[in-house]
């Protein structure tokens, strides 16, 4: 089981790195494909953490729906490559330095917190228990989230609709 953790986390980080910096291609489609791989490796990590339902949902929602949406938009816009690469050395350097600082803080915090001694529990996330919890303790957030999805749907329709005045202007 330990070797699986190392394989999956290494693959997750590698694919995540290739989403952000791909030395071979600047095409957004490649980034989207590596995002799919990242998400699939991550659901492998979820299985190792015994969150079976979330692993399935992760693949269904992210690899299924979200990435399709990304690809759809990329192809709708017909973006070929990033035409010119205006490399701003100063901004890149400052950004990398800030992120490295944040990474250092996060990792040292995790290392100093000594969570290992107390991590004895071994909880499983089966669909049944999650569903029971969702419809007893978390009914109100569940309903609010469904409302949020409705609002997002209406918002998308409104945003992607071309208004009539605009069509007349064109």
């Amino acid at each position: 089981m330990e070797i699986l953790f190392y394989i999956f986390s290494a693959l997750t980080l590698l694919c995540g790195l290739l989403v952000v910096f791909n030395p071979f291609s600047r095409n957004p489609v490649t980034s989207a494909m590596f995002l799919v791989l990242t998400i699939i490796c991550m659901s492998g990590l979820f299985v190792l953490l015994k969150a079976f339902f979330l692993a399935a949902v992760q693949i269904l929602v992210y690899a299924g729906a979200v990435i399709v949406l990304f690809l759809f938009v990329i192809m709708l816009m017909n973006i070929k490559e990033e035409e010119r690469q205006r490399f701003r050395k100063f901004g890149t350097f400052l950004g990398a330095a800030a992120v490295a600082g944040l990474a250092w803080i996060l990792v040292t915090t995790v290392m100093n917190s000594r969570t290992g001694e107390r991590s004895v529990a071994n909880n499983t996330g089966e669909t049944k228990e999650l569903g029971e919890l969702l419809f007893t303790n978390y009914v109100l957030p569940f309903e609010i989230v469904s409302l949020l999805l409705l609002v997002a749907m209406v918002g998308c329709i409104l945003l992607s609709k071309t208004s009539e005045t605009e069509e007349e202007a064109e």
Partner: protein, 108 residues
């Protein structure tokens, strides 16, 4: 090989979060920046699932609370992606670009 505990997952999550942040800061393409945002959300998700797996039994709340929270995060992220991409498409219609350097003015 040492026993894989909570902190291993937290380090992976922190590294993934920093990768996403780096992408948002450095990349100039709006869509790739958005994908990096998704990476950051996923990193937070991984940390929550790891916490949920390692939570000792307690009278306050169920050990699955973290996973419920991840469920809501995934839902909200899906809604967010839909609205955000609609915004990007609307912006692209007006300006014919997704490079943030070309989107520096507030007037459409």
């Amino acid at each position: 090989m040492t026993h894989v505990g909570l902190e291993h997952y937290l380090v992976v999550s922190a590294a993934l979060f920093c990768l996403g942040l780096l992408g948002v800061v450095i990349r100039r393409n709006l869509i790739v920046m958005y994908m990096s945002l998704e990476l950051m959300l996923n990193a937070a998700t991984l940390a929550l699932v790891a916490f949920s797996h390692h939570q000792p039994p307690s009278p306050h709340g169920s050990p699955l609370d973290g996973q419920i929270m991840v469920f809501f995060i995934i839902t909200v992220a899906a809604a967010e992606v839909a609205v955000g991409l609609a915004l990007i498409v609307a912006l692209y219609r007006k300006r014919q670009t997704t490079d943030v350097a070309d989107l520096a003015s507030m007037k459409l």
